[in-house]
Symmetry: C2
Subunit: 265 residues, 2 copies
Amino acid sequence: MKSIGVFDSGVGGLTVTRELIRQLPCENIVYFGDTARVPYGIKSKETVIRFSIENILFLLKQDVKLICVACNTVSSFALPVIKSHFRVPIVGVISPGVREAVYATQNKRIGVIGTKGTIKSHTYETEIRHLDPKIKVTAAACPLFVPFAEEGFLSGNVVLEVARKYLKPLKDAHVDTVILGCTHYPLLKAVIREALGNNITLIDSAKQVAIEVKNILDAEGLLNNKGRRAGRHRFYVSDNPEWFSGLAERFLGQPVRNVKRVNNV
Amino acid sequence: MKSIGVFDSGVGGLTVTRELIRQLPCENIVYFGDTARVPYGIKSKETVIRFSIENILFLLKQDVKLICVACNTVSSFALPVIKSHFRVPIVGVISPGVREAVYATQNKRIGVIGTKGTIKSHTYETEIRHLDPKIKVTAAACPLFVPFAEEGFLSGNVVLEVARKYLKPLKDAHVDTVILGCTHYPLLKAVIREALGNNITLIDSAKQVAIEVKNILDAEGLLNNKGRRAGRHRFYVSDNPEWFSGLAERFLGQPVRNVKRVNNV
């Protein structure tokens, strides 16, 4: 049985994988984390595209039927290029989050937070305005959120003070909806909510991404939802399987065993 | 005129380069920052060795007479291997700092702080005990210090609270000397001092590294200290020259122009 391939620069994509497992329990999943070159968020478009192509070539060798790009930086920089290169269906994390946010906003003011790369790419603004040109988008890079999530600083004064600083432009712009434009950020939901106030809708695109994956597999006749056994989940990294395993439970919601190290270049 | 080659995973090595320029103003310097794969601090020994060899091969093509490994993680993991592979003299940042710390301590209690990789390698403890087995070493990884230094969080509540948390074991152990075992940490000297108290000696190995480079070049008859013109300084990176330039002044103490992007693999 063919698998769903998922890749990310490191552990962040596990928050998307968690939702894929929840919605598609019978599917096999192959996850690849490029931990030798993590993080991608500060790297250039050309470099992110090059790394992504190498990651996809590795996944294709694992006999995948669809590839989910579980990383906002890759989705922002590389999606059009990689979609044009490969025949396998490829799903990114931007469009699903955008659709949900455009649907959710009442006052037509949406905030977007992400890595420096994602924010600099303006992909979210472009996609939002494509759906509704009247929406005002306020974007902010939150570069310390990824190290905070990985180091377990998920609450407390330190992360709240930094969150208030990063999110001030969004608060000043009176956004009513905020897209968590990085797969690490769902771990910081509580503190982001504390900094922004309770009446803000936070969009974690993982749920919509899984729905899109399901729809595409269904349309292509590739969906496996009739099995009685749970799907098999395999995890590969390009470096440091111990580091990955140590963080995996926090991001996936369950422990990960047998992480295999492979060379993807 | 042959150059001194310097490499690091990113911008941190510029704090060492700053001291090289101060002590050896006539020398040409070629700096390489592996910004496509930065940071190295969370990566495995094997991967750090592989990346280091690729970086050295790039520098050798630039006609260098000595290579300075301006990165504690590389010096901890890779120095014995790369010294055995290459004929060019290679200077790391560990031994110079160790010698100064062993000389400085009065109560024979030394603290060491660095990346996860550096601390996990136990290289500092091994080298300190080799010089004086009676010295008690307390080591602590400070993984958020690199992102803080790069994001400009050099003072204030956020960084002080995290510093107090990381440095508590050193304070509890009553160390009188602390080695800043990462080339980013000199930027956080003030806050580290605030967390530890004023009577602590902080060892920034850059000065001793530059002395060692000078001594080796002198011994090999390669020292250029008689020129009337200032040396030429070239900067190469594997990605994102704008990101590097933007941070360089903070780390080097002077702006860096003409950063060239090259492919080192």
